[in-house]
């Protein structure tokens, strides 16, 4: 149980629980606007909006690999980096933020249901234990939170 508590601590603090290391992923998105989310530092570079959907997609993948669920249930078509925005509206941004929250909740619920003895057994990702999968997905949130903070700063300086 202690093991599971630590993994949930990692996942929670990387996403939306108070963290020591500065903004976590959800914190980096606080007050986000469609214009800011859609801003690109140069043509072809990802914008914050795409990072939101990318993080949601990989939470989905982690959930699928953790639970062994079949492919094809991610609500959007495409994978990894999905072009955004389709519509630059507050409603469209809210919908993608809600998708991120939902993919996080789905993953967290699945993690909480893992038997601790299962953590060091394989996931549906060949060669990767459940523990390694979950340690990786928490770090992935922060990797992109750092980038979102940088993008916000760059956008506001233009």
């Amino acid at each position: 149980m202690e093991d599971l508590r630590q993994i949930l601590f990692q996942i929670d603090t990387a996403y939306d629980r108070v963290s020591w290391h500065g903004p976590n992923l959800r914190g980096s998105l606080r007050g986000m606007t469609p214009a800011l989310a859609a801003w690109r530092p140069s043509p072809g570079r990802h914008n914050i909006w795409e990072l939101i959907v990318h993080a949601a997609y990989w939470k989905y993948v982690a959930w699928r690999r953790l639970t062994g669920a079949k492919r094809g249930s991610f609500p959007l078509s495409g994978s990894n980096f999905i072009k955004r925005p389709v519509e630059k509206t507050p409603g469209a941004l809210r919908a993608d933020l809600a998708l991120l929250d939902e993919m996080h909740r789905q993953l967290r619920d699945a993690v909480a249901a893992v038997a601790p003895r299962e953590l060091d057994r394989g996931s549906a990702q060949r060669g990767v234990t459940k523990r390694a999968l979950l340690t990786g997905i928490a770090a992935h949130d922060l990797y992109h939170a750092g980038q979102i903070q940088l993008l916000k700063r760059m956008a506001r300086s233009r």
């Binding site: 202690e2 093991d3 630590q6 601590f9 990692q10 603090t13 990387a14 963290s19 020591w20 290391h21 500065g22 530092p41 140069s42 570079r45 492919r71 495409g78 994978s79 990894n80 980096f81 060091d120 990702q125 060949r126 060669g127 990767v128 234990t129 523990r131 390694a132 340690t135 990786g136 928490a138 770090a139 992935h140 922060l142 990797y143 992109h144 939170a145 750092g146 980038q147 903070q149 940088l150 993008l151 700063r153 760059m154 506001r156 300086s157």
Partner: protein
């Protein structure tokens, strides 16, 4: 896989990601601010290394924020060469890996302190990995902006996600780290 091993593998992955990004930028670009006075890659390298060196020197027996660390200086521009910068980087990481190498999962519930705050060792390691991942994401982002179209991707190539997902046989952190290491040595 032990808890320590999984953390060690992720640390190695993020170290390799940063190194593969740094290898792609020119010497003068290392000191270029990320926009609007934001940190340069050089500053982030010194900050990550300074943090690791402070946190993990005498990790079990002294506070993680050492009196000899001057954190604010890590964000000042300097005129270090690439070689000097990479030496600072390696020094910080070597302290971390030496300490991790001496830990086992049985040590995880023991307590260390950071700025006088007691923390379990596993929490201290998770915090540290989070800090590293956060700033490595920024290093990679800046390096990619500097290289533009000549950037060699460090993850899944654009438009290749489906192909990658069908044959994702080497996705362990260690396998990813090894691929990144080859990329760093080529550039």
């Amino acid at each position: 896989m032990s808890v320590i091993q999984s953390l060690n593998d992720e640390y190695q992955r993020y170290k390799a990601l940063a190194e593969a990004a740094i290898a792609q930028v020119g010497d003068e670009e290392l000191g270029t601010a990320g926009g609007d006075g934001a940190n340069s890659i050089e500053m982030l390298v010194r900050h990550i290394a300074g943090n690791l060196k402070s946190r993990f020197t005498d990790f079990r027996t002294s506070d993680g924020e050492k009196p000899w660390r001057h954190r604010d200086d890590e964000f000042e521009s300097t005129s270090v060469t690439r070689g000097e910068l990479l030496q600072i980087w390696d020094d910080g990481w070597s302290v971390l890996f030496r300490e991790i190498g001496m830990l086992s999962d049985a040590d995880l519930s023991a307590t260390v302190t950071v700025r006088n705050q007691p923390l379990r060792i596993d929490e201290a390691l998770h915090r540290s990995l989070a800090h590293v991942a956060y700033h490595v994401g920024q290093i990679v982002f800046m390096a990619k902006a500097m290289r533009g179209g000549a950037w060699q991707t460090l993850s899944i190539p654009r438009g290749k996600s489906e192909e990658y997902n069908r044959a994702a046989s080497s996705e362990t952190a260690a396998a990813h780290t090894a691929k990144l290491g080859k990329l760093s040595s080529k550039t």
